[in-house]
């Protein structure tokens, strides 16, 4: 009897120990999951953004409003500059359409255009369309801790799973310990060469959530090129239905 008790106690202690330990140090997967939920956790969102495309000899700013439901559906309306305003982009699952009021045409983006920059930026159409899940499609490995922009961060290496449809060889993410914000991401190709760097800054509370409102994307192989996204306004959990994301609605958005 005594022996049984002691075994049971040992087991209990072990379990408790485990729980305590895990609450103290999260696994790498948990960290990535929390960080992902931070921005993508809500069901739907309406975001107003500006995107500045910086090139060695010029720069240009596009403003747009974007409605999205989960990762599957989104609708984007360009609001500025005047020449581009009124253009809309619809994403439904793996397909993307473009509506241009100047020519009254709905164009489904062909595979050949997938590697081209969206609105001339460093974001390719593929980036927008094939947003893979950083939680499900990768294995995660905690590789240490570093301080980025004055915040202590977990440095986590993400390696894509074998069957995952991912273009990157691997990623390194720096996730802030306090608010679980992704401070910096480095994306590498299959040969382990750094392709681009993304960095978040300007942390603000918007619609009840702490988020970064400025994201900078720097491609490595094109010096002087940069794309800066600034979130001007966010509403989470707006009542959006799947039916909102239709080709009909593309033409009616104002």
């Amino acid at each position: 009897m005594k022996r049984t008790t002691s075994t049971f106690t040992l087991l209990l202690i072990g379990i408790i120990n485990c729980l305590v330990l895990s609450s103290q140090s999260l696994t790498a997967t948990d960290i990535i999951k929390k960080a992902d939920e931070n921005f993508n956790g809500e069901k739907s969102s309406i975001v107003t953004m500006s995107m500045t495309i910086i090139r060695p000899t010029w720069q240009r700013t596009v403003e747009f409003k974007s409605w999205s439901l989960g990762k599957e559906y989104s609708l984007t309306l360009i609001t500025a500059p005047a020449k581009d305003a009124g253009q809309t982009f619809l994403k439904r699952l793996n397909e993307m359409w473009d509506w241009n009021p100047a020519i009254n045409r709905l164009i489904k983006l062909p595979p050949s255009m997938m590697s081209q920059g969206w609105m001339g930026s460093d974001y390719t159409n593929d980036d927008i369309l094939k947003e893979s899940s950083v939680v499900k499609d990768y294995t995660h490995e905690n590789t240490g801790e570093e301080t980025i922009a004055g915040r202590e961060c977990y440095k986590i290496k993400l390696i894509p799973k074998k069957d995952a449809v991912v273009v990157w060889g691997h990623q390194i993410r720096w996730v802030d310990k306090k608010d679980f914000l992704v401070m910096k991401t480095e994306l590498y190709d299959e040969d382990g060469v750094l392709v681009r760097t993304e960095a978040g800054s300007d942390i603000k509370t918007m619609d009840g959530r702490v988020i970064q409102t400025k994201i900078e994307l720097v491609p490595t192989d094109e010096p002087g090129n940069k794309t800066v996204l600034v979130i001007m306004d966010v509403k989470f959990n707006a009542p959006l239905k799947e039916s909102f994301f239709s080709q009909q609605n593309m033409k009616n958005l104002r």
Partner: protein
Amino acid sequence: MKNYKMAWRNLWRNRRRTIITAASVFFAIFFALLMRSLQLGSYDHMFRNIIESYTGYIQIQQEDFWDNKIIDNVFEFTPALEKAVLSDENAKAVVPRIESFALASVGSLTKGVLVMGIDPEKENLLSGLRGKLVKYRLTIEAISNIKKSELPDKIKNELDQLKDKSFSGDEPLRVELGIKEKDANIMLAPFVKYATFKNNYLIESEKGVLIGDRLSKYLKLNTGDTLVLISQGYHATTAAAKFRVCGVVKLPSPEIDNMIIYMPYDVCQEFYNAPGKITSLAISVRKNSNKSIEAMISRLQTRLKPPLRIIGWREMNQLLLSQMDADNKSGMIIIGILYLVIAFGIFGTVLMMTAERRREFGVLVAIGMQKTKLGAVISIEMLYIGILGILSGIAVALPAILIGYYHPIRITGAAARIYEDYGMEPVMKFMPVDTYFLWQALIVAIIILIAIIYPLNKILRLNTASSLKA
């Protein structure tokens, strides 16, 4: 008696032999000239086509544009720049252009096209664009109507082969149908009535476009139809707009004809969101010889500063130039073979002549003629024959070449399509008198000089006794 007089008389002692030898020289010169003229003429014609309808002799561009033809590589077209270029002694006019690519879409048809923003009037001065507007188009309907009218059966039969063909004037249509100039008025009347194609030229600031004849057929576009152009504008803006087709142009180069869309340059600037900017400034020149073009390029180079760059037609047409160079080499090999055949022909007759006259030489030497004098007479004879052949060859080839130059051979029917598939205009044109005449004459003269060596050698080593027994 003087050597040359004796040689002349000798020639006509055996008329037939002289004529046969002279004839072989004649044919050598005649064919070589004709082939050369045709080859050089075709290159010249092709270059003129592409230079005059497309690139111009000299262009000014932003320095990166030639290697990377994107709409971001543009430059400001200012009155100061125009003035600076026009102050050059050889500059006739400057023609601004915006050149970029776009997707043209009509209904469910889409095609990548070359968009050219042009100054309608200035461009017309440079490349005569207005004259390239389609005047007649032989649609199936037009052909069936024309067939009902009174025309010779020969022409009616030919009509079926010309289905959907376009003609930018009376002249090409008349030539294609083989109608004589004096009959043109009557014979072309049914074409004017049924096959006339409605066309308007571009008007500055108006949102109309001209499209290539082949492109119009591919996209099934007619005057008055609308097409959509989609592209990326200056600094990655969206360029998308609707345009009305105001006319169709037939360009000689099938490749360009299949992809070109012209629009007024101010409209084009608005479309690509690049007000005041152009991608190239074509310069129309007063003198177009290679020398004056090169001189003009170096003059402009000192006057204009980067990011502007001066680019000559040679650099702009490098691919065509090297293609032509390869073709030219193969042409030269063929001519080389021709010369080889001719050389043996001449040598053969010389050999025979020497053998035939061995006894005569022996007698002459025996009665006291010096061998060197005899050799000189024979040499002069040979030169006479050569000159006779060369001159008669040129005399016959020249009119043929001139006729071919002023009335180029227009290939029709199925053969024409083969030409067009290779991106060439189905025309065989001759090159008028040029330095190549001299070269051919020189080469034949050298062949004759070489041929002289044999009889000279024979004469100088002549054994009088044995030759007398021959």
